[in-house]
């Protein structure tokens, strides 16, 4: 099984603030981590490899610093990593990003399964996984909480997809793409040997000229959406606090709720 896992490097915290003077995000001193949801994708890739054999390749698109995320993947035990980095990729929205990532898959050609995290913790869009699948015209299932089976012939996969009332068991042909949720596994820690490997690894970087791609569909030019404004949400107004005997407080609370027609 050749497995490709896509990851994204994101700020460690979501508690980012806006500089009121410049109206831009304050990024100073915010360290970067692998998107927490992608950790489950990496782990699942490793588990499939351990069960079925094959290779796990982790790919990310980002600035040169994103290399650090890939080293962490090597330390977890993946076989290969690729960094897609080029100025022409800058400013990509989910359409351009999924196109760029799909071009990397086309270059690799030989793959059975693509795994993505359910969404990234900075943008929270969940759109890139399905986007890649569509660019490649392969089947996909989102919100996978378990891989039930990959039969011996490795031509199909059966997974459990979280839905509103429980889960669905779905089957599709390989090659295919899944996006995974937190319930699927418990990501492993980096091993000592992995860390050593990570340290000395050369991280391959693919630029525009390394892949077959249409320049018009990349980066800002290839991105239909534009962010025109960012702002801090209105804080909630602090309300009324009751203190004292439990019963008194409860009576006052319920009075208030009645008064304001909440109950």
């Amino acid at each position: 099984m050749n497995i490709i896992v896509f990851i994204k490097q994101v700020p460690e915290t979501t508690e980012v603030k806006i500089n009121p003077e410049t109206n831009t995000l304050i990024r100073e001193g915010v360290t970067s981590i692998i998107n927490p949801f992608d950790m489950y994708a990496i782990e699942e890739g490793l588990r499939v490899r351990e069960a079925k054999g094959g290779r796990v390749t982790v790919i990310t698109m980002g600035p040169p610093q994103a290399e650090a995320a890939l080293r962490q993947c090597i330390a977890m035990g993946v076989d290969e990593v690729v960094l897609l980095s080029d100025r022409v990729f800058a400013g990509s929205d989910t359409l351009a990003t999924s196109y760029t990532l799909s071009c990397a898959v086309r270059k690799i050609k030989d793959f059975d399964l693509i795994i993505c995290g359910k969404q990234a913790s900075d943008g929270d869009t969940a759109q890139v996984g399905p986007g890649i699948a569509q660019h490649l015209n392969i089947p996909f299932v989102t919100y996978v909480r378990k891989i039930e089976e990959i039969p011996e012939d490795r031509k199909s996969i059966r997974v459990e997809k979280m839905v509103d009332e429980g889960y669905e068991v779905r089957e599709m042909k390989l090659p295919a793409l899944i996006t995974v949720v937190k319930e699927i596994n418990e990501p492993r820690l980096e091993s000592l040997r992995g860390k050593l490997n990570a340290k000395k690894a050369q991280i391959p970087v693919w630029t525009f000229s390394d892949m077959e791609m249409d320049k018009e569909r990349l980066g800002l030019d290839g991105s239909p959406t534009q962010v025109i404004k960012i702002f801090t949400p209105q804080p909630r107004e602090a309300g009324e606090i009751f203190e004292g005997e439990a019963e008194d407080c409860v009576n006052k609370l319920v009075e208030k709720m009645k008064e304001n027609k909440i109950v």
Binding site: T14, E15, T22, N23, T24, L25, P36, R87, A90, G91, T94, S98, Y99, D124, T125, Q127, P130, Q134, P139, F140, T142, Y143, R158, E160, M162, V163, D164, E165, G166, E168, V169, R170, E171, M172, K182, E216, G219, L220, D221, P224, T225, V227, I230, F231, P233, P235, R236, A238, E240, I241, F242, A246, C249, V250, N251, L253, V254, K258, I262, V263
Partner: protein
């Protein structure tokens, strides 16, 4: 595509220097200079510049005649033939947008044997309902449903398409957006039409709700957005409202069914319908022991609400993960949210702070939850909750 400083407008004020996350700007001879090797076109400097002196020039995309695209569409999500509430909420919002644009509001209903439901969509505000009724559409599949929508978009060219930010909407619309191709904004909580250019202004939370962003899709059509459930208001149902119901033919072949549903398992421990609940009673580490969740359950039952929890309670193994509210759990927007023995960490808040009314019960008056609570009781939950249960049983 390039970024440039408009020298006539630049005042050399240096604000852009601190705005640039990549240190790519300096000021020389009282003019900003951008180092193109460092710049990644994030646009931070543009929004910081008070004199409008920095511009990104983007190649105009080659999209078909924008003016041909008219009307607001709502993807009417249905499950087992029953239309999901989110579809009515989107029609309520879509009605406002369509009126503002003076264009039509249409719903698109896709499924098997669902034609009879179309009237409910006109009763909730749709001028038209496009129905694709086909036995092949009995079970939801991204591939077949997106084909149905794709065909209809090609035929009728809507300007805007809205879908629910549900498990279905958030896989169907990303696929459709790539097929068309066009832009898609995920999980919007605010929609508006801009007066001048008639563009859809799509506002959504990012960074777990700590930041809001407004996004447009100026050069591609349709403009697409998924919209968070329970944020928009539906219109009261008016069965006397009339609309046009149009049946559409779409041919499906085997290749359009890319996945197969083998089994559907209803599982209460996996799924707790927190997103739909009007009242949620949540418990946290303050409950001290798993058996004390019965207090929370009792209060929820008295109010007809659902049970939620903080991550601390889930991590302690007191309650299944499916109940977790917050950044790594569920995002909820109930009418009333009770936080009992929950401190109100930011990661918890992002999952509940859009509730209409927040009621906090905590023995620590300094707990951050009180800063966002509509009402709070400072006290021991083991006394307060039983008193609440008793009181609600009396008054309700």
């Amino acid at each position: 595509m390039s970024i440039k400083v408009i020298n006539d407008k630049c005042t050399g004020c240096r604000i852009c220097i601190s705005a640039c996350p990549l240190d790519a700007i300096k000021v020389e001879n009282k003019l900003a200079v951008i180092d193109l090797d460092k710049c990644n076109l994030c646009g931070a400097c543009i929004s910081s510049c008070k004199s409008g002196a920095i511009a990104i020039e983007k190649k105009q995309a080659k999209v078909a005649n924008k003016e041909e695209y008219k009307g607001v569409w709502v993807f009417a999500e249905q499950r087992n033939g029953e239309i999901d509430t989110v579809s009515y909420e989107l029609l309520g919002e879509g009605r406002k947008l369509a009126d503002k644009l003076q264009e039509e509001l249409a719903a698109v209903l896709v499924g098997d044997g669902i034609r009879k439901e179309a009237g409910k969509l006109t009763a909730h505000g749709a001028d038209k309902v496009y129905v694709v009724d086909n036995p092949g559409l009995k079970e939801y599949q991204d591939s077949s449903y997106s084909k149905a929508l794709f065909s209809l978009v090609q035929r009728h060219k809507p300007s805007i398409i809205l879908g629910g930010a549900t498990t279905i909407g958030r896989s169907l619309l990303p696929k459709l957006a790539v097929m068309l191709p066009t832009g898609l904004t995920a999980d919007c909580t605010g929609l508006e039409i801009d007066n001048e250019k008639k563009l859809l202004l799509q506002t959504r939370p990012a960074f777990g709700g700590n930041i809001m962003a407004t996004i447009i899709c100026p050069d591609y059509r349709p403009q697409m957005a998924t919209v968070r459930p329970r944020v928009m208001k539906k219109l009261p149902e008016d069965p006397s409202r009339k609309g046009e119901i149009i049946e559409e033919e779409v041919q499906f072949v085997k290749r359009d069914m890319m996945t197969k549903v083998v089994d559907v398992v209803k599982d209460e421990t996996i799924h707790v319908n927190l997103q739909d609940a009007e009242i949620i009673v949540s418990g946290g580490r303050g409950l001290k022991a798993p058996e004390n969740f019965k207090l929370i359950r009792e209060l929820a039952d008295a109010l007809g609400g659902a049970v939620g929890s903080s991550r601390a309670a889930v991590d302690a193994g007191w309650i299944p993960y499916s109940h977790q509210v917050g950044q790594t759990g569920k995002t909820t927007a109930p009418k009333i949210y009770f936080a009992c023995g929950i401190s109100g960490a930011i990661q918890h808040q992002v999952g509940m702070r859009t509730a209409d009314v927040i009621i906090a019960i905590n023995k620590d008056p300094q707990a951050p939850i009180f800063q966002i609570a509509t009402y709070g009781i400072v006290g021991d939950l083991f006394q307060v909750i039983p008193a609440l249960i008793k009181k609600f049983k009396e008054v309700l």
